[in-house]
Assembly symmetry: C2
Homo-oligomer: 309 residues x 2
DNA sequence: TAGTCGCACAACCCGTTGTTGTGGCTCGCC
DNA sequence: GGCGAGCCACAACAACGGGTTGTGCGACTA
């Protein structure tokens, strides 16, 4: 592929051969093989070089893109100067949106967002300490005094929860509901694994208000959840206000605000004191520049979250 | 790469080996080589399979993207069902913008836009007839009666021209100018090759109003043109109203409307009568749905363009 | 018409990558 | 705790792909 691009650029097999430190015949073979595999002619051979066919002209940008993709792939794991690596709890909640904003603001910064699956905040902290990731958006369930010295934490955004129901649900027409209204209703939040801070949060929430939250159902994916909710009169779910969910329009799901109090989920950024990745500083700058919605009254969050300020 | 993705998905070397019809040892070697080349461990080997390391988790989406890019590259030249292939005269004028709109409207349609360089409308017509491209946006300088029967032409958009000057130019502060005002000024439009319909258009324009248009200067790229214009008191250029040009903000170039009459450039779509590419029909539908700006009075265009209606 | 330039074909050779065979490790079961 | 099952790694060997050298052919030029 690289050979093809080079020949397209130089217009001559010989130049490419010199450039790549191989013989002209080897270049000829490579191009012939590529043409054979694709089943089309890429160059017209003339007496003083080569010229791209129309197929070749169409193929060229794709070939370049392929090489760029390869470069990005290699760079993503290159020890030393690799892209900033940030873990999020999933790709739909507020921190993911935050990172999309960040990327929009600094499109030149290389960013790798990953989901460290099946892991709690302790795993994220370990990953940050080991240097394998640069930062993590998490709810920090651990008291500040028990955090390692080299780990820094900053509260970034509080995400209010809403009730998610299908049209047939008894609460579907309510303009807003309180946690007390949810007593006796089944709340289903599948895909939350025990040991993660999600589970801690919802367990605490359930205990506080006497709710029947079922966080450990089998997880067949978000589509399945929405599928079930759309048809159910008894089942509802809780979602963050900024959480993006896409469902077929005929599903007619509703998001109903919660109040008195509003449960909010506390997202923090975790990073290592000594991490000198330049993009990390930029991220801090960006997070400081946006004014996060913070709530003081009328909300609920677990005791471990309020203690953090 | 494919092997890596497969192992990441299945979690076992053996499954991948069966899937790819090779032995487990071969898979092991491939992964070991990839890890060696990258310089990082991608999997942690356990007694009952493998698990992605954090590096592996980061690398995985890049690997998938690489495979997708390869697929697109191969598809782009696959005889038979390949993406719709459309030629434009360059990537900045109105037809290019039109195609961006089209792509926004139908993001699932695969589209390959190319610039058949150094070629006039006759080359485009030949390419359309041979089937190597599906359509071309061109100014058709050939009388309708001399077009082959199997070639269809539709006038798509008329693009008014504007004067482009630097801040020091004598006409820079004029709110609008007429072609007559340009007599005696040097107009520079580099990169227009003789034989193309661009050259025909500007020659006709120069002849009509007695202008000193210099279309055949050496072409060092758009940046160079803007560079020179920014500092010149005597040189100006002509650009289409919808033509996208990006210049450094401190350049302070100006686009000045032309009137009495406004020279407009006629873009037509050329395609083959028998071309049954489904996306071509969609393109027609899209072009019909947008209401193109067409001008009747106060404009100028070459005789060969007015005759087409 | 001879010379030069540029790509293609043929023969050969070597290194990469596949295969077979085997060993070591971990986990679960009796 | 011993043993078998499952899974990956290492070693030796074989086959193929892709490189090299040598040569030929067609087109443009003097």
């Amino acid at each position: 592929m690289r050979t093809f691009v080079s020949v397209a650029d130089t217009g001559q097999f010989q130049h490419t051969a010199a450039e790549m430190a191989i013989t002209q015949q080897a270049v000829s073979k490579r191009i012939a093989k590529l043409e054979g595999d694709l089943g089309v002619r890429l160059f017209t051979r003339t007496a003083r070089g080569t010229q791209l066919t129309i197929d070749g002209q169409v193929f060229l940008p794709h070939a370049r893109e392929l090489l760029r993709a390869e470069q990005r792939a290699v760079d993503s794991v290159r020890p030393g100067r690799r892209p900033l690596r940030i873990d999020v709890i999933n790709r739909r909640t507020a921190p993911a949106a935050l990172l999309r904003d960040f990327h929009r603001g600094y499109p030149d910064l290389q960013l790798d967002v990953l989901v460290l699956d099946d892991s709690g905040v302790d795993v994220a902290i370990a990953a940050v300490r080991s240097g394998s990731i640069d930062a993590s958006f998490r709810a920090v369930t651990i008291p500040a005094r028990r955090l390692p010295d080299d780990i820094k934490v900053m509260r970034v955004v509080d995400e209010p929860h809403q009730l998610l129901t299908g049209p047939a649900h008894k609460l579907a027409t309510a303009p807003a509901v309180t946690p007390a209204d949810l007593v006796g209703h089944r709340i289903w939040i599948p895909g939350i694994l025990p040991g993660t801070e999600w589970a801690t949060y919802y367990n605490d929430l359930a205990a506080e208000f006497g709710l029947a939250i079922d966080p450990i159902g089998p997880n067949f994916g978000t589509e399945h959840l929405l599928d079930v909710l759309a048809d159910s009169a008894t089942l509802a779910s809780l979602v963050g206000e900024q959480t993006r969910l896409l469902w077929p329009t005929h599903y007619d799901l509703r998001r109903i605000p919660l109040y008195d109090p509003t449960p909010v989920y506390p997202h923090s950024l975790i990073w290592h004191r000594d991490n000198s990745h330049p993009a990390l500083a930029t991220l801090h700058h960006h997070l400081a520049s946006i004014r996060p919605r913070r709530f003081d009254t009328g909300i609920w969050m677990p005791a471990w979250a309020t203690r953090q300020a």
